[in-house]
C-alpha cells in the first residue's frame, strides 16, 4: 500500500472505492501513528505526541538544525539546535531568539551539597565591595535575591586598595552565611602598609523555580 492522490478517477469502478479508502486510512494511521497516538488510544488522546518509548523516536519532537547564522523568526515556541556552535535556542515570531542551552554550559554536579530540591534552580550572585578597613570589624553583605531555605556557598577574595604595596598578604574569611547574606572579616599579614582592601565575592545556592 502507498499513499495516492490521483485516485479515484471519474471512470474507476465503484468496487475499487472501498479498497482505496481502506488503504488511505491505513496510510494515515501508519504515518500519523509514528509520532502521535492514533488507533490504539482513546479518542481523547488521539493526536497527542507520543513519549519516546512508543514513538518512531527517540521522542516526538524535532528541533530545527542548522548553522547559528540561520536563526530566524519562526512561530513562537519552536526550538533550534545549532550544528556549528552546539547551542539550543528558543525562537519567537519577532525574531528574538533565546539562548537556552549549550554543550559548553557549566552544570552543577549533584553529589556535593544537597541534590537540587524540587522546583528550584541554581542561582549565583557576585560583587565587589570596598574599600573596607582591615581589622576586626564584622562586615555584612546582603544578597539581592534571598536564597531558598539553605544558605548558599560563599567564596570571598581580598583585593588590594594599594597596588604599589607588594609586601602584604590580604585575607578575607567568611564567618557565617544564611539565605539573605553573609558576614566576613578582613585580615592582613605584612608591614601594615595596607589599612583597607576590596572584597570580591560569589555566592551559589538555590532559589524557587
Amino acid at each position: 500500500m502507498t499513499w495516492v492522490e490521483n485516485k479515484p478517477q471519474a471512470n474507476d469502478p465503484l468496487r475499487e472505492i472501498a479498497d482505496l479508502l481502506r488503504s488511505q486510512k491505513s496510510e494515515i494511521s501508519v504515518g500519523v501513528g509514528k509520532h502521535f497516538f492514533w488507533t490504539e488510544s482513546s479518542g481523547a488522546s488521539a493526536g497527542e505526541p507520543r513519549l519516546s518509548l512508543g514513538s518512531n523516536g527517540p521522542g516526538s519532537a524535532r528541533a530545527f538544525y542548522g548553522a547559528q547564522s540561520a536563526l530566524s523568526a519562526q512561530p513562537s515556541g519552536k526550538l533550534f539546535v545549532t550544528s556549528d556552535t552546539s547551542r539550543l535556542y528558543g525562537l519567537t515570531s519577532s525574531a528574538t531568539t533565546m539562548l537556552l542551552g549549550s554543550a559548553q554550559a557549566i552544570i552543577s554536579g549533584g553529589t556535593s551539597e544537597a541534590t537540587l530540591p524540587n522546583n528550584t534552580r541554581w542561582h549565583v550572585e557576585s560583587g565587589r565591595t570596598g574599600p573596607l578597613t582591615i581589622g576586626t570589624t564584622l562586615y555584612n553583605q546582603n544578597f539581592t535575591t534571598p536564597y531558598a531555605a539553605a544558605a548558599p556557598l560563599v567564596h570571598a577574595q581580598a583585593g588590594s586598595n594599594n597596588p604599589s604595596v607588594t609586601t602584604d598578604v590580604l585575607m578575607v574569611s567568611v564567618l557565617s552565611a544564611n539565605s539573605s547574606g553573609f558576614s566576613y572579616q578582613l585580615a592582613r599579614i605584612g608591614v601594615n602598609a595596607n589599612n583597607s582592601a576590596f572584597v570580591y565575592w560569589r555566592s551559589t545556592g538555590t532559589v524557587a523555580l
Binding site: K34, A61, M98, S112
Partner: protein, 204 residues
C-alpha cells in the same frame, strides 16, 4: 506552511451529493491531508516527502508551550509528562517530569570558554569542617565525584580569620588544602568552602 482554507470542507459529501462528484472530492481530501500533515511530517505526494519517510518528523517539527512563566503548570501529569514550556517573559525553557517542573534552559547559563570534548563541564562545591591542629595543617577533601582529568580550577574560602592557605595537591577526585594559622587568638577547627570545575564524559 500549508493553508488549506476552503479546500477542507466537512459538509461534503452530504446525503444529497451526487456519487459522480465524489472522485474529485476524495482526491482533494487526499491532497489536503498531505499538505496539512506535510508541514511538520514527511508525507508523500503533495506533502513533499517520500513513501519511505511517511510520518517522520521534519526539522523544526516540534513546538513548546509559549506563554508567561506564571502559566506554566505540570499539574496534569498524565498528559503533560515530558512536554516543554518556553516562558515568553523570563526566556526559560521548562520540561515537565511526573512530579516536578525542571529548568531545561536559560539565557543566564554560564558557558565555559573551551569545549568539553564528548563530556560536559561540571562544577561541584561543598563545605567541609577540617581539623586545624598544627602549622601548617593539611586537609584532604573529596569532590564527591571523579573528573575525567584533574579539574581546571579549585577555589577555597575559610570560615575563620587569619588563615593563610593554598591548594597543595590536586587530583581528579579531590584536593589537599594546606593552611597555617597566623593569629591572633586561639587556633580551632575551620570550615573550608570549596568549588571545583572540570569535565566529565557523558551525562551526570
Amino acid at each position: 506552511m500549508a493553508n488549506l482554507g476552503s479546500a477542507w470542507t466537512e459538509t461534503i459529501p452530504s446525503d444529497a451529493s451526487i456519487v459522480g462528484h465524489e472522485p474529485p472530492h476524495l482526491r482533494s481530501v487526499w491532497t489536503s491531508i498531505a499538505l496539512g500533515l506535510g508541514t511538520n511530517l514527511f508525507w508523500p505526494e503533495s506533502g513533499g516527502g517520500s513513501q519511505a519517510s511517511l510520518g517522520d518528523l521534519r526539522l523544526g517539527g516540534s513546538r513548546a508551550f509559549y506563554d508567561v512563566a506564571s502559566q506554566s503548570s505540570s499539574a496534569d501529569t498524565t498528559r503533560q509528562l515530558a512536554r516543554a514550556f518556553l516562558a515568553s517573559d523570563t526566556s526559560r525553557l521548562f520540561v515537565y517530569e511526573s512530579d516536578r517542573t525542571l529548568l531545561a534552559g536559560t539565557p543566564y547559563l554560564i558557558e565555559h570558554g573551551t569545549a568539553a570534548g564528548r563530556g560536559v563541564w561540571v562544577e561541584t562545591r561543598g563545605q567541609t569542617l577540617v581539623s586545624s591542629a598544627g602549622t601548617p595543617s593539611l586537609a584532604t577533601i573529596s569532590f564527591g565525584l571523579v573528573y575525567d582529568a584533574t579539574p581546571t580550577t579549585v577555589f577555597t574560602t575559610f570560615s575563620q580569620r587569619s588563615f593563610t592557605h593554598f591548594v597543595s595537591a590536586l587530583t581528579a577526585g579531590g584536593f589537599v588544602s594546606e593552611f597555617s594559622f597566623t593569629g591572633p587568638g586561639a587556633q580551632s577547627d575551620v570550615t573550608i568552602a570549596w568549588t571545583s570545575a572540570g569535565t566529565i564524559a557523558g551525562a551526570v
